[in-house]
Amino acid sequence: MKTKPSTTLAALSVLALSAAWPAHADEGAYLAGVKKHHLATSAVPENGDQNPYAMAFVPASAGNLQQGDLLVDNFNNKANLQGTGTSIISYQPATGKMTTFATLPATLPGCPGGVGLTTALAVLKSGWVIVGSAPSTDGTTKTLGAGCLIVLDSSGKVAGTIAGPDIADPWGNMAWIDEGDKAILFVSNVGFGIGAPGQPVQKSATVLRITLAIADGKLPVVTDKTVIGNGFGAQADASVFLIGPTGLALGKDGTLYVSDAIGNQVVAIENAATRTDSAGTGRLVTKDGSLQRPLAMAFAPNGHLLVTNGLNGQAVEIDPVSGKQLGTSWLDNDEAQTPPGSGDLFGIAVNPEGTGFYYVEDDMNTVVQAQ
């Protein structure tokens, strides 16, 4: 962990933070140039859902989706019980307006255990939105269901579900390839063998590749599912519900990078879109250092990986080629948590223009813009 905030400036979440730590990233790294953090919006919709998790930009306008809007889902319901959130909000950066894109029912016939929306969120050019569910009925993994992937149409209505024996609590932020009439999704499944908190780490989490055929106006059809990574650690947790592989980011060369939260490392799965077998837990890219339970991951405009830490409020910048950790930046140094920002970060998304990024803050249930 980096030095504690200065006593004069650092304090509250984002806001004074970049002032307190303007240069925690090395010179030349992307994060070093990110100076300003702006509270964009509350992520809490009308139904009072809490705990924003996933973020994804809308690539093309369709139905109620406007190109450039940012979708954010919520993992908790109004009572703040994890695994019970059912809403997705839409934030329009140009106007600063937040609306509710979707409010799902708490149970769906094709989604074992119900609905608790996770960090797995993809928005396709065809207007389909695909979101993961890792459901609970009491806010703990004692009542964990297998969940599913939920397919929403561009008006936010449930159109279908994707479930089965190879899907168990699709959790991590999805990476995807969108070719219009075909899409390939990469999603981590962390629920295999997970019970009540207190059990040991399960080496059971997978990375699953799902291929969809998307005919015009028709519900996407799964044409292939292949496990391309397995054996990742996953664990039930009394405080944060589930810990497992969370960040997924696809490089231009077809390498899928995975943040392995239990292993405190980032690994790579080569030829993710084409391989026919599992790469196991992949090739190690970087481990420990500034990583503190790495969660969601995204590519910065300079081609480096940005990964949010679960156990403090830092983002870590990584050169995926060399595996070198280039620097860190305190996105959230909220001292209400110890260490500052612990448990606050999750989703991260670089804006389409490449001029900055957004991240969620679970301490205040907000979305913050950094640039």
Partner: protein
Amino acid sequence: MNGQKPSRRGFFGMAGGLAGGIATASAAPTAAVAYEGGGEAVPFYGPRQAGITTPMQSHIYFAAFDLAAENRQELVALLQAWTMASARMSAGLPAVPGEQDGDKPSLDSGEAVGLNPQRLTITFGFGPDLFTLAGKDRYGLAAKRPEALVNLPGFNGDQLVEGLCGGALCVQACADDAQVAFHAVRQLARLSYGAANLRWVQSGFCTGGKSKGTARNLLGFKDGTMNPTGATMDQAVWVEQPGWMQGGSYMVARRIRIALEHWDRMRVGFQEMTFGRSKATGAPLGGKAEFDTPDFNATDSSGNYVIPENAHMRLAAPVNNDGAQILRRSYSYNDGANFVAERWPPWHQGIEYDAGLFFQAYQKDPRTGFIRIFDKMSKFDALNQFTTHVGSAIFACPPGVTKGGYIGQGLLETA
């Protein structure tokens, strides 16, 4: 006890205008009435209810009631009895006059014997349930429900407990002595047997009369620096539109539990960023003295605000709420300790103080007052990481009472 009369205040021995348990207020005393023991009395009668803009007393005992009265006549009788008793207690007299019959329960429970009025004020409010309950207009008042008496919307982070919310009537008793305040509510509850039932209560305390300068809350910060005063306060608080609420005000009450153990672990510098003020002086960040005008535009070298975007005082300031003003009249509370699971990272669990703030705000229209201000605060206030709203209620507090009248008469007797 039969025939024995405590000497102080003529307790149990007062003659008065009580008839059949329902009194007219004609026999009730004025503020200047003599009582034993000295001290101050706040006039009960007047065009506006006391206990709203009255300088805060050191204690509050608040009670919300459900109504069991079956018709308007019974409701009127209750309010007449409450008016009479309140006027008497505000002047340091027993709640009910009359000769005590030793074979019957006490006319007054007696715990205030020997205590002066202690600036007792008794303030009444009418909740939404008075006008309709489960869609039923029990007293023919539904059409008279003011538009401003809205049902409070659900706010972000609300963790409301049903047993700490709502009510058809409320009684706010404030005094410089806890026993006097409780005594007042207790007597009114006794007088309401059969007509109203206790729904929830809340006691609280305030150091306003003892503190040097602005009183501090349990967070250790000065609380109320931005409260309006003088004409600005009057304009914010009192309903001006003609109608039965003219001269009245709307009360929003919220029981706010504060995670004091969590707060106590925080650096003072962090606490100050959370509040937006210096803890020692109350000065806004970037300023020097408590009443300095906050500079909400001041930024540091990186362009971030000196008073953070989510600082409590920034979000509450009228200048950042289109001028919206409310009069805060909040009391701290401390109701022991019990198990709690905090709702913010890192999700502390265990036995913690059940303590915090019994927030009360008065305004002429809650839609442009509390709701306008708190909607934003509920989403963005950094202090929310330490606070949880568990109780909530809204009441229309009618104008004051003139001698011979009773509280709410304008509502109950106008066409």
